[in-house]
């Protein structure tokens, strides 16, 4: 059906296309997302005294304290990662709904993380305990805490986030 020239051209086409897939035979390294969870869930806040934060020259008492553990799980088939960055945000909430405060009246908080290590092996788990003190514009204790962790992987920085409620 095809002549010699046509078969040769077809062979060139096939070899050229497969030549582009040089990396394909190598098993790809997996960079799966690190799963985050928080214990307890929901959080419980207790009254606090003596802890303050100074923002913009003003000092605020932080009347609520909650403690929790951030648990980070890496799947078995994922490459080991280093915990690079941890961040916390607190938003006031009512009946589970975040209530944005007036622009000039922000939530104030400070926190202390206590990581035991900064590396998670494949299939492994890392736990960072936190103490968090906060003041909400509405004076209440119900809040939404957002925890963000970024990880150094061979493919670059990846980020995971988890939200947890502070019970009213």
């Amino acid at each position: 059906m095809f002549g010699r020239t046509q078969r040769a051209l077809a062979l060139i086409a096939v070899l050229s296309v497969t030549g582009c897939e040089e990396g394909a035979p190598t098993a790809p390294t997996s960079y799966q997302r690190v799963e985050l969870s928080v214990a307890p869930d929901p959080l419980v806040a207790v009254p606090s005294t003596g802890v303050t934060v100074t923002v913009g020259g003003s000092t605020f008492d932080l009347p609520w304290k909650t403690s929790f553990a951030l648990i980070m799980n890496l799947p078995e088939n994922a490459s080991p990662v280093d915990i690079a960055i941890l961040a916390v945000n607190v938003q006031q909430a009512t009946d589970g709904i975040v209530v944005a405060p007036a622009a000039s009246d922000d939530e104030r908080f400070r926190f202390t993380p206590r990581p035991q290590a900064n590396r998670i092996e494949s299939g492994g788990e890392a736990v960072v305990e936190f103490d968090l003190w906060y003041l909400l514009p509405n004076g209440g204790q119900e809040a939404l805490v957002t925890l963000t962790a970024s990880f150094d992987t061979p493919a670059g920085l990846t980020t995971s986030t988890v939200d947890v409620q502070v019970a009213p």
């Binding site: 051209l9 086409a13 582009c20 941890l86 926190f111």
Partner: protein
């Protein structure tokens, strides 16, 4: 090139030439990306020491909301730049230093309204590194952290232009414990 092939080969033969040409040219895609830096350039930057200790600081101040405050901590180090024999001579054209608070080597982002306060002095011994030589830049850093701790991470980014007008960027990160 494809038009020439089509004129020389028609029908199924021409289509195969077209596929072969497309397939071969597809392999060349990376060649058309013009790099802005030379990733393979052997220029090397290391920190000496590689891990720092901070000592309590006094006498160096910063201003915050009208108040004059002393920095809590002070540390110093050198960035050593090495241009091996296969590296064209470079000129140092830019440098930045960023300090962030850490806990167990993890950067801990401060809550809103709080930031790391720091300043640094830099003393380059030269602004040029010749081929086969090294040059160092000394740094002295004063800082106060939002978490009132001492542990931090310093990142120095250095920008170079070599004698072939190629821009090279190198970073070095140093833990302060």
């Amino acid at each position: 090139m494809i038009l020439l092939c089509r004129s020389a080969f028609t029908g199924s033969r021409g289509r195969m030439v077209f596929v072969a040409a497309l397939a071969l040219s597809a392999c060349d895609r990376p060649a058309f990306i013009m790099p802005t830096t030379v990733a393979s350039a052997p220029l090397e930057v290391v920190a000496v020491p590689t891990s720092l200790s901070a000592t309590p600081s006094s006498g160096v101040t910063y201003e915050l909301n009208g108040a004059v405050l002393e920095y809590d901590w002070r540390t110093s180090f050198s960035a050593v730049i090495r241009a091996p024999d296969d590296q064209t001579a470079v000129a140092v054209v830019g440098q930045t230093l960023v300090l962030r608070q850490t806990t167990a080597d993890i950067v801990v982002v401060p809550p809103p309204g709080l930031v790391e306060h720091y300043e640094f002095d830099t003393a380059p011994h030269n602004n040029r590194v010749e081929t086969g030589t090294e040059m160092s830049i000394d740094y002295e850093v004063w800082y106060t952290l939002p978490n009132e701790g001492r542990e931090a991470r310093i990142q120095v980014d250095l920008t170079f232009v070599d004698d072939d007008a190629v821009t090279i960027v190198r970073s070095v990160t140093i833990p302060v414990r």
